[in-house]
């Protein structure tokens, strides 16, 4: 992943609209996160690592696909930091690159069953693919 990481940090901050320096590192976002057990980096770490410019591990981590976009961290952060927007901005940094879609159309058929709602398919594609 050849990227100017300093640039990536600015892009992530701009795109998310989040000011990571507002974070007081209380960990409440991670405490309330339903994806905690599946995420290598937790929401408060996303905020901190973006603040300090430690972006590369986030870009490489599967954590960006484990976040459920439930917005619990956004609602419960006492400082209004909105960590989910940082997670989304990092994911976009990855999937907006050429050929970096997380979901490929070819793989779709095997994920389908009789009952799966259209909503699941369109949302997964919106989140994982550009």
């Amino acid at each position: 992943m050849e990227k100017n990481l300093n640039n990536a940090r600015e892009e992530i901050i701009r795109r998310s609209g989040v000011n990571p320096s507002k974070c007081m590192k209380c960990g409440k976002c991670s405490g309330t996160c339903p994806a905690y057990d599946e995420m290598e980096y937790h929401p408060h770490q996303f905020v901190y690592m973006v603040e300090t410019g430690d972006i590369e591990p986030l870009l490489k981590s599967q954590s960006i696909y484990r976040c459920l976009s439930c917005f619990a961290c956004v609602d419960r952060c006492p400082r209004g930091v909105e960590p989910a927007k940082i997670v989304e901005a990092v994911r976009l940094e990855v999937i907006r690159q050429q050929g970096a879609n997380h979901l490929k159309a070819e793989g779709v058929a095997e994920n389908l069953d009789e009952e799966i709602p259209q909503q699941a398919i369109v949302t997964a594609f919106r989140k994982y693919t550009k």
């Binding site: 459920l68 976009s69 439930c70 609602d75 799966i116 709602p117 259209q118 909503q119 997964a124 994982y128």
Partner: protein
Amino acid sequence: MKVTYFPGCTLKNKAKQLDIYGHKCAKALGVELEEIEKWQCCGGAFTTSSDEIATKLSSVRALKEAESKNQPLVSLCSACHNVLKQTNHAIQTNETFRARVNNYMADGEYNGGAKVMHYLELLRDVIGYDAVKEKVVNALNGKKVACYYGCLLLRPSKVMQMDDPENPQIMENLVRALGGEPILFPYKNECCGAYVSFENKDYTAVKSGKICNNATLNGADIILTACPLCKYNLEKCGSDIPVVYFTELLAEAFGIKE
């Protein structure tokens, strides 16, 4: 009374019961859901990134149509409702976003004048639970109902403003009006696992399993939902508690369920 109605892709396919009974119950209550003729899929999720414009235009067109008719924009699906409300909020509060969106709007600008309402809000705020109660012919006889909200109806609460995001009562009060008994349900605003079930069903089964267990533990007969994806995830997690759309329960109480 007429309202502008945005059905969304799932209600025309896998979640037909949500749509059909939504129409029938509205009719029984004297409301016509006027479907947008050329609605386009909302995309299922509002991308929070401020530089994403094109994916939000389908919502903007729907909002614009409702505004031009001077009607509220009503939807049944939690996801459509969430995307429409968040898009409207972004138009109202973010000038740059509004300007960039309007670059695409060849036949006139949209500046955030529509009012977005979930069907549940229509029942509570416009029709009123007293009027709902009057239509009940088959009271639910104390049926124990776990009212499940998940994420999309409530969060981000600053934008959604439907109810208290930590202890909502909008569905509970509807169930009471129908003669049912809403149970204590601490997991009512936990996430079912959402769209991640598309690629990782083991993961979402754990999330949904906890929600179903919590409903069962508290004595629920059924789980009530407004979301096709929540319903799917809750039904796939291995629990056997029935998951029912709120419009189905409404139709049952009104005696118009087939």
